[in-house]
Amino acid sequence: MKLYDYILSPSCYKVRLLAALTGTQLTLRPVDFHPGGEHLSPALLALNPAGSIPILEDGELVLTESSAMLVYIAAKAAPEWLGSGDPAESAQIQQWLSFSHRLTASLGGARLVEMLLRPGDLAALQASGVKALRELEAALAVQRMKGDIFLTGSKPTVADIACFPYVALAPDGSIALDPYPSIRLWLRAVRALDGFIEMPGIHRLHELKPEPAKETA
């Protein structure tokens, strides 16, 4: 499987992360998104007219939506990441996969404005990002009260992977995660998964990391 990839793209990272968690081999083809704008080059537009990355190629199959890529990788390598097959759970997973697009548009949009100086209405993006985070916090708090740590149960699914990166990187768009204790616990649970890999801005859990207060010097 070949992934058209950008190291700083949370959507590309979703695919790399699930591949790592399921032991799926990916061939990475780096795309010069910033500063080069290669995703808008004729060659990549021919592959994906929407002009977005990631793009996943597997033989004849070309996927341009990260949620579809997650489902494909899970179905091939580790179906447990698609849930138990219970109708309500399957539907909820779909619900969260759709919800993840709101995170991309809002939190991801704010991050692109703040970090890579892309055009956009920062205040509006941040406001819709906060709204989405509040919904997520409420849902995860309910899960916690039931004794479940992940979005749809006690085990992680593609839904968690789809929502994780943009939430974890919300501070890149100047949106603090301090007001959301259930989200922070959930982020930690994802980072603690066996085979977890990091991306810039999302660090692994360090036992040896100094206390934040000491780090600031």
């Binding site: 950008y6 190291i7 700083l8 780096p30 795309v31 010069d32 910033h34 500063p35 080069g36 290669e38 703040e114 970090m115 890579l116 100086l117 501070p171 890149d172 100047s174 810039p200 801005g201 660090h203 692994r204 360090h206 040896l208 990391k209 100094p210 934040p212 780090e215 600031t216 010097a217």
Partner: protein, 280 residues
């Protein structure tokens, strides 16, 4: 503004990406506009129309709000034939411009922030190295810096002990020289050019001049962006937000001798834009 930093040169655009429409940006709190006016010409103007001095060098457009007393610092290696010149692209960081440079100078954070790339536990020890303020050049230099690295560069296959030299030729710019795996005896050049937007906000323009004939240009860009983005989250959470220049505030350890020299040099020149002068 009496700060002598006003007479320094600052990067304000990537030359290759600058078009005639140009870029509105900030320099030390002043709105400025930078635009291309010809194939090898650019113009920088203040809001009132005053035109500012410009230079095109090291892939970037440089300007100054004041009257630069010196030419833009020289990086002789940049003109050596055979080097790949890498425009890494801008990244905005909510931190003091001086903090951004100070973090770049500090190798003690490698194992914790750039884990398994520029450093790894348990190899966290920084060996003794030399730091000086070179009077003739008026620059801060750290030399004979050695550090064990699992993947020092895109071109490094496995772990090696990497030699480093750090240089601060201007208050918001640093040049790093490091072991060049494909060409022993030569130094790869990695720079951090910082544009101070305000005292607590900057646009950072990393740039490199490398001997590496193998790697894809995109891989080189992504490697450096990955490294810098790992720093970004740390930089945005530093307290105090400005760089303390009161020596009583911090206890120097061997690992941040370069930082101590950098701060001493800033103080000597009264370079205080982005600095905190009294303990809070």
């Amino acid at each position: 503004m009496s700060d002598p930093m006003i007479d320094e040169w600052y990067p304000v655009a990537l030359f290759s990406k600058l078009d005639a429409a140009g870029r509105d940006t900030l320099l030390m709190g002043h709105p400025i506009h930078v635009a291309r006016t010809g194939s090898e010409r650019v113009a920088a103007t203040e809001a009132d129309g005053r035109s500012l001095p410009v230079r095109i060098r090291y892939g970037h457009v440089w300007t100054s709000l004041g009257e630069p007393k010196k030419e833009l610092f020289d990086i002789p290696e940049a003109d050596e034939p055979g080097r790949r010149l890498v425009d890494v692209g801008v990244v905005r960081v909510r931190c003091s411009p001086l903090r951004a440079v100070e973090n770049f100078l500090d190798i003690a954070h490698f194992p914790f922030v750039h884990t398994d790339i520029l450093g790894a536990e348990p190899h966290t020890e920084v060996e003794k190295y030399d730091v000086e303020i070179r009077e003739k050049e008026d620059e801060v230099w750290a030399t004979k810096v050695k550090f064990f690295q699992p993947q020092a560069a895109k071109s490094a296959a496995g772990g090696i002990t990497t030699d480093y030299m750090y240089r601060v030729p201007a208050p918001t710019c640093s040049v790093l020289y490091k072991t060049c795996p494909p060409r022993p005896g030569e130094w790869d050049v990695i720079t951090l050019f910082v544009q101070p937007l305000t005292e607590e906000l900057c646009d950072v323009w990393p740039w490199m001049a490398l001997y590496d004939d193998e790697a894809d240009m995109t891989d080189l860009i992504h490697f450096q962006q990955m490294i810098f983005l790992q720093d970004r989250s740390i930089l945005e959470n530093q307290i105090p937000r400005r760089l303390p220049l009161d020596p009583g505030m911090e206890i120097p350890t061997r690992a941040d001798m370069t930082s101590v020299a950098y701060r001493r040099w800033l103080k000597r020149h009264n370079y205080t834009y982005g600095a905190q002068l009294v303990a809070q």
